[in-house]
C-alpha cells in the first residue's frame, strides 16, 4: 500500500515545487521608484502608433543601460489584467495569448507600456509611458514579400515568403533554391486573395516567364510580366513590359540606379487565355509602367514619361536624370473589353518630380503614390516619399508622418482601406522593411510601425531586405513544389510571342500578340 503511494507523493511534491517556482518568477511591479521625465527609446519604434487589434505581439528592445527592466502593458482604462514582463538585457518578448486577449478587449482604446529600470545601486526608475492606440479595424491576416539580400549584379537565395501578421509565423511561397536559383519576382494577388495570383521568374536555365494561379490551376506563360495589377473581377491582369537596366554610380548613399530604356503596358485575359496589347499604353515615344486598376475596375492608372533618348541600348542613356513620370489613367469597360481615352491625373510638368506606383484607396477617394527626383525606380531614390491625392479635388499633399530622409515606396492598401503597407529604408538607407500605417476616414495616415517579429533584434541581425510587400487575406495555397516544378518545366503551357516592348509600335497601329494555348 505504501509502495503505491510513493509515486503519488513524489508527483505532489514536484507539483508544489513547480508552483512555488512559477510564483517566484511572477513579475512584481516595483512599488518604490523614482519618476523620470522622458520616454525611453525602444527599437523597433512602437510608440504613438495606431495598431490593429489582431496584430502579432510588438516585441521590442529598450535602448537604455540598466541592470534590470520591467515593462507593464495594460489598457488605458485599466480594464483586465496587465501583462508584466521582466528582462535583464532590455529585450521584451510578449506572450501571444495574453497580448491578443488584451488587444481584443482594447479596441478603440489605448494601451500603455509602463517601463521601469533598475540601476546598479538597486534604485528603480519609472520612465514616461509609451502609448499606442488600438484600432477596431483588423489588418489582413498575411503579408507576402520578397526576401533577398540587397542585389547588385547577381541574385541568389531569393524567397517569396508569407508572414502571418497575427503570429509572426513565416512560411515559404517559393524558394529559388528549389528551382535552380531562378530569380522569382513581381508577385501579385487579385484583391489580396492568393486564390488568384501571378509571379515572374527568369534564369538562363528555365527561361523568362510568368506563373499564374487561378481557379485552382497553375499556368506557365512564356511572357514575363513586370509590375502587375489584377482587375477586381479577377478576369484579367494588366502588366508592364520593361527593358530595365541597372547601372552604378561612384559615390552616394545609394550607388545603384535603374533605368527603363523602353516600356509598355499590356494585359492578359484569363478567359481568352491571351495577352493583348493596349495600344494607347504602348506608344513609341513614351515609357508606360506601374499599371494599377482602381478598386471599382473602371480605370487603369499608370505612369508615363516621354523617352528622351534615341539610342535604346546605351546604359545609362543620356538625360536619364531628366525622366519624370506623370500619373495618368484610362477608362475600361470590363464587360465589353473596351478601353477609353487617356486622362492626365497628375502631370510631372506641374510637380517637377517623377511620380510612380499609384494606388487608389478602396473607396476610390484617395490615391497614394511615390514622388522622387527622377526616374522609374523609387526604391533606389532616397528622395522618394509618399504623397496622397484627393481624387475629387485633385489636391496633393505629402504624407509627412510616413516619410523619412530615406526611400519610401511600394505601398498597398488593405481591402478595407484602413491599413497601408509600404517599404521604407529608414533603417539606415539600405535595407527595406515593411511598415504599416492606419488610414483614417479623411485619408490621413497615422504614425507607422514596422512589421513585428518574434526576435526584437531581428532587424539588426538580418541581411535580407523585404521588398514588394502585399497584403493577403489568407495564406497562399499553391504549393512550393508545384511552383518550382512549373518553373523548371521544359514546355510553356501558354506560349506568348511577345516583343520585349510593345512600345516600339505607334499608337493606333494594330498588333495582335500571338497566343497559343496547349
Amino acid at each position: 500500500m505504501m509502495k503505491k503511494r510513493i509515486p503519488m507523493l513524489v508527483a505532489m511534491v514536484l507539483c508544489i515545487i513547480s508552483i512555488v517556482v512559477l510564483l517566484g518568477q511572477r513579475v512584481r511591479i516595483p512599488g518604490d521608484y523614482v519618476t523620470v521625465a522622458g520616454a525611453l527609446r525602444i527599437e523597433p519604434d512602437y510608440t504613438d502608433s495606431t495598431i490593429p487589434y489582431n496584430i502579432a505581439p510588438l516585441n521590442f528592445n529598450i535602448r537604455h543601460e540598466a541592470e534590470e527592466y520591467i515593462v507593464s502593458i495594460y489598457p488605458s482604462d485599466n480594464s483586465g489584467s496587465a501583462i508584466n514582463l521582466a528582462s535583464k538585457n532590455g529585450s521584451i518578448v510578449i506572450g501571444p495569448g495574453k497580448w491578443h486577449r488584451m488587444l481584443g478587449a482594447s479596441k478603440g482604446k489605448e494601451i500603455i507600456f509602463s517601463i521601469y529600470t533598475r540601476d546598479a545601486a538597486g534604485q528603480w526608475f519609472r520612465h514616461d509611458d509609451i502609448v499606442n492606440s488600438v484600432s477596431e479595424h483588423p489588418i489582413p491576416g498575411y503579408l507576402a514579400y520578397r526576401h533577398l539580400k540587397p542585389t547588385y549584379n547577381w541574385w541568389r537565395d531569393i524567397d517569396i515568403l508569407q508572414q502571418s501578421l497575427e503570429s509572426s509565423k513565416v512560411s515559404t511561397i517559393i524558394d529559388n533554391s528549389a528551382c535552380d536559383d531562378t530569380c522569382v519576382n513581381c508577385h501579385s494577388f487579385a484583391a489580396g486573395n492568393p486564390q488568384t495570383m501571378a509571379m515572374g521568374f527568369r534564369s538562363s536555365k528555365n527561361g523568362v516567364g510568368t506563373l499564374i494561379y487561378s481557379d485552382g490551376e497553375l499556368k506557365r506563360l512564356s511572357a514575363k510580366w513586370g509590375y502587375t495589377s489584377w482587375h477586381p473581377s479577377g478576369k484579367l491582369a494588366a502588366y508592364s513590359m520593361n527593358k530595365v537596366k541597372q547601372f552604378f554610380r561612384r559615390t552616394g548613399m545609394e550607388i545603384r540606379d535603374v533605368v527603363d530604356l523602353d516600356s509598355a503596358i499590356a494585359y492578359y485575359s484569363l478567359e481568352k487565355g491571351k495577352a493583348i496589347k493596349i495600344d494607347a499604353l504602348a506608344e513609341k515615344d513614351y515609357l508606360e509602367t506601374y499599371p494599377h486598376f482602381s478598386p471599382d475596375g473602371k480605370y487603369l492608372y499608370f505612369c508615363r514619361a516621354p523617352i528622351l533618348w534615341e539610342d535604346r541600348n546605351t546604359v545609362p542613356p543620356k538625360r536619364f536624370k531628366e525622366v519624370r513620370y506623370s500619373i495618368m489613367r484610362i477608362s475600361y469597360d470590363v464587360d465589353n473589353d473596351i478601353w477609353g481615352e487617356l486622362e492626365m491625373v497628375l502631370s510631372a510638368e506641374k510637380t517637377g518630380k517623377s511620380m510612380l506606383v499609384p494606388r487608389v484607396s478602396p473607396d476610390g477617394r484617395h490615391m497614394i503614390f511615390c514622388m522622387c527626383d527622377y526616374g522609374c525606380f523609387p526604391i533606389y531614390q532616397s528622395s522618394s516619399d509618399l504623397y496622397t491625392m484627393d481624387l475629387q479635388t485633385r489636391q496633393v499633399r505629402p504624407l509627412e508622418i510616413l516619410n523619412s530622409p530615406y526611400s519610401e515606396s511600394w505601398h498597398n492598401y488593405s481591402n478595407s482601406g484602413r491599413w497601408l503597407v509600404f517599404s521604407s529604408k529608414r533603417q539606415g538607407g539600405l535595407f527595406t522593411r515593411p511598415h504599416f500605417s492606419y488610414i483614417d476616414d479623411a485619408g490621413n495616415a497615422r504614425k507607422p510601425f514596422v512589421l513585428p517579429q518574434r526576435d526584437p533584434e531581428h532587424y539588426y541581425k538580418t541581411l535580407q531586405t523585404y521588398s514588394v510587400p502585399e497584403f493577403m487575406i489568407e495564406p497562399a495555397i499553391v504549393s512550393l513544389r508545384a511552383l518550382s516544378r512549373n518553373i523548371q518545366m521544359k514546355d510553356w503551357i501558354i506560349k506568348v510571342n511577345q516583343p520585349i516592348s510593345g512600345a516600339t509600335k505607334k499608337y493606333g497601329e494594330k498588333t495582335q500578340l500571338e497566343t497559343n494555348e496547349r
Partner: protein, 613 residues
Amino acid sequence: MMTTNREQKKMGQGSALLRHALPVTFFSVCFLYVLLVVEPTLIYHGLGRSIYYPPFRTSWQFFAEAFGTCGGPVEYLAALISHLFYFNWAGALIYTSIGFFLWLSTRSILGISRIRHVGFVSYLPVAALLVLCTGYNHQPLIILSILLGLLFFVAYTKWVPGRPLWAGVFLMVLSGGLFYLTVNGCILFWLMVVLYELILRKRFAFAGTVAVLGVAAYLACRFVFDIDMHPLHWQVNRVIGANSIKPETYSPRVLFGLYFFFPLLLVVNSLLTGKQKRQIPKHGWVSPSIQVLVLAAISVTLLKPVYDPGKKRPLKIRAFAQKRQWPKLLDYAGKDPFSRSMNILDVHDIIIALYHTDALAEQMFDWPTSLRSLTLPDDVGGHYNEMLVRRSNMTIEMGCMGISEKFAYESLINFGDQAKVLENLAVINMVKGDIQTARVFLGVLAEDLIHSGRGRYWLDILADDPSLSGNERITYLRSLVLDKNNDEINLALNYGQLLKRNPENKAAREFMMSQWLLTGDLDRFTSALNRYDTFDTGKLPRSYDQALALYRLTGGKAECRWDPTADSYEQGRKFLGIAKQCRADRKRLYHATKQEFGDSYYLYFFIHTPRQK
C-alpha cells in the same frame, strides 16, 4: 603443458598489443599528418573562396532554426566544424575523429561475421578521407551523413530484436532519429539494413518490407512532402555546383566510392563468411605486421599523387593575407618568388603585403608583378569571388566606397556571409555615415564563431562615439571619400580625382605610381613623381629610381624634381647596351639579362609592359 599455455598467452598478449598499437599509431600519424601537412586552417581560409562557405552563427535563433528542421542538425554540425577549422589543431582533431569513427564502423561491419582476416580494410575509408582533405576538398556534410548512417546501422546490428515486429519498431525508431539528424543518411542506412537482413540474417520477407518501405519513404519525401532527399552522389554535385567550383575529378569519385564501399563490404564479407569461415585462422589470414605494411603502402599510394604543394601554396598565401600577417606572407612567398604555382591573385596579395609594409616602391619587381595582378580585371578565370573580395579590400583603402560596396555585396550574395566582407560593408557604411546599416552588418558579424570580437569591437566603438568622429581609421577614410554629389556613372578608378580630394591618400598614390610603372607610361610616372616631397628613406625607392633613370636614358623630357642615382644610370646604360645587341629579340634579351636584371624595372619594362608588347 604449462609452458605451452604461458607461451600462447604471451603470444596472445603480444598480438593484442600489436592490434591495439596499430590503430593508436595510425591515428596519431593521421593527426600529425593533417596538422602539419594538410593544415586544416587553410581550409577555413578557403571557405567562400575555393571551398563552399557554410553559414554559421552562434545565436540561439540559428541553433533553433537548424534543430527545428529535419536534416538541420547535421548541417549545423557541418558548418560548426568547418568554422572550427580556423584552429589548426581543432581541424586535425576533427578529421582524425571522423576517421576514427569511420574505422570503428567499418571494423564493426567486418566483425558482424566475426572475421578479422583483412583488418587493414577497415582503414580504407580513413584513407579516402585523407585523400579528400589532402586535396582540400572539404565536404563535411556528406562525410557526416555517411558517418551517421553507418553509426545507426552499427547500432541496428548490435541491438536489433529477434522478432520481426520488434525489429521493425526498432528500425522505425532509428530511421526517425536518423531522418531528423540527416535526411540523406537514411538512404545509406536503409540500403545497409536491407542487405544485412537479406544476406546475413536471411530474413527475406523483412528485408523486402524494409526495401519497399524505404523506396516509398524516399518517393514520398521527394514527390509528396517536398523534402530535399537525394542519394549522396547527387548532393556532391550540388554542393560543388553551388559555387561553380570545379574540383579535381577524383574528388566526386572518392566520395562516390566511399558511399558504396560499405554496402559492398557487407556483400563481400557475407560471401566470404559463408564459404571460408572455417578455414580462416584465429587472427586472420594476414599477420598484423604485414597489415601494417599493406596499410602504409596503401596510404602512400593514395596520398602521394594527391598531395600537391602547388595547391597548398596559394591557400597559405591567402591565409596570411586574410590574417593580415604581411611580413609572414612575404617571408613565405619569398622562398620561391617566381614559383609557377603562383597565380595573379597570389601576386596581388604580395603587392598588398608590400604596400602594407611600405616596401611596394622598393621591391615591386622582386616578384612576378603584372598589371593584371595589380588591377585584377573581371576575367580572372575561375576566381571571381577571390577577385571580388580583394577588389573590395583594395578600393576601401583608396576611399572608393561605392566601388568597394558593389564588390562586397556581390561577394556576399554569391559566396556567403564571410566575416571580412561583413566588416568591409560595416566600415563602408560607417564611412558613409549610414550607422544603422553598419549596425546590421556588425550585428551579424558579432554572431560569427571566430570573428565575433571584431563585430563587438565596432559596436562598442559605436556605442561610445555614434558619429565615429573620434575614430582614427574612419576619419582617415572619410577624408579620402569623393564628394557625394560627384555621381559620376563610372566605376573605373580615377586616381587623379582621389588625389585631388586628398593628396595624402597613400593607397591611391602608390597604386597609381605602380600602375604607371606596370603599363610603362613613364611620362605620367615622371610627372606624378613631383607629388612626392620626400620619401621615408630620404631617397627614391629602387623601382622609381630605375624607372626614372630609364626614362632619362631613353630621352624622356618631362620635368621632375627628382634625379635618378648614378648607380641606376649606370645599370640602365648597361641594360640598354645589351638590349641594343639583342635588337628586337625579346626572348634573347630576357635570357641575356635575367640573371643580373631579373628583379629590376629595366627587364620588366622591355619584356612585360603592354607598350613594349
